[in-house]
Homo-oligomer: 194 residues x 2
């Protein structure tokens, strides 16, 4: 939790600045207001025929479980550049994002996932430093019980449904975490009954 001002080093406290409606960390010496905003996680669904590239995580959280290559977008990038960079870092794959596929808000962790369909621009892939293993898998080979994140599960579910239909949409929605443990999520898609 933020306790000091980034501009003067003075102590901050949580209060609603004048003209604002939300509490922010405000410096009690210089008055600087510190905003915090959701982060974008960008990544790729790299497809070859009916197979999709998955990475087995070498890092926490969810070490040993499978995920799509994705990570935090950096300043100075476009979302597509971030998606391609993360895919190169985690799967040593050179890709071109071709179309947006899912946009999922995860309000309980202040993240927005943006996952693109992509193709390899040169053959080959291999584990990056954050991956134990990288594989191209068919729908029936996906380790559904060993996926790292619900957003990955929902994206793969939508991807293979669209692949069977022969037509890809752009799916926009929210993954809302319910109360209690283990975690349960409600997947609400925009334009799907709301």
């Amino acid at each position: 939790m933020q306790q000091y001002c980034t501009e003067c080093g003075g102590p901050t406290r949580l209060r609603v600045p004048e003209g604002d409606s939300r509490p922010r960390q405000v410096c009690s010496l210089c008055g600087h207001v510190h905003y915090e905003n959701p982060r974008i996680v960008a990544g790729c669904i790299v497809a070859e025929g009916d197979r999709v590239l998955l990475c087995r995580r070498a890092i926490e959280p969810r070490r040993g479980l499978w995920t799509l290559p994705a990570g935090f977008m950096e300043n100075g990038e476009t979302v597509e550049e971030a998606a391609a960079r993360e895919t190169h870092e985690e799967a040593r794959a050179e890709v071109a994002p071709e179309a947006l596929f899912t946009v999922f808000s995860l309000p309980h962790i202040d993240q927005v996932y943006m996952l693109f369909r992509a193709r390899l621009t040169r053959p080959g892939y291999a584990p990056g430093t954050e991956s134990l293993e990288v594989r191209m898998l068919r729908e029936e080979e996906i380790p559904w019980d060993a996926l790292a994140f619900e957003v990955v599960r929902q994206t793969l579910r939508l991807y293979f449904a669209d692949l069977r239909q022969g037509r890809f949409g752009i799916h926009v929605g929210d993954l809302v975490r319910g109360e209690g443990e283990p975690a349960r999520y409600e997947c609400r898609l925009l334009g799907a009954g709301r």
Copy 2:
């Protein structure tokens, strides 16, 4: 520019943390790494028949110029909630976002715009505190020379093109600022020739 650590108040300096590839503000006392990431600007294209709701800005930057209601997404929200909230704040309009319409990366200012097509869920609109004036305008009434932002101009251009075709897409791309003044932008759409 950040100069002090949010966790201990110590002086930070810009350096590449171990295992990272980018310079970050790192605390020289406690070692805390401060990340900065792009922010999402969420907003709405509120349509009634062939008209679209625009706001004339009461605040800087671009005071007096016209824009779509939009603003920074906050923690704890979904993108659609942020878009609806900003529309209520700036245009006192109650809306339901129905479909994503444009996603534009603006890498020169570390922003990603996400604009939704939306409809009024109850009649009426009026200037919020950040707007001088709110109006529903037809394509031929749009003040093309008095729009606040290039991303708004591109979104309206795509919107009215789709409206004439009778079919709305989801447009994903980048607005890349060229060198020099006045500002010039290149609009690159994903799936449109790249």
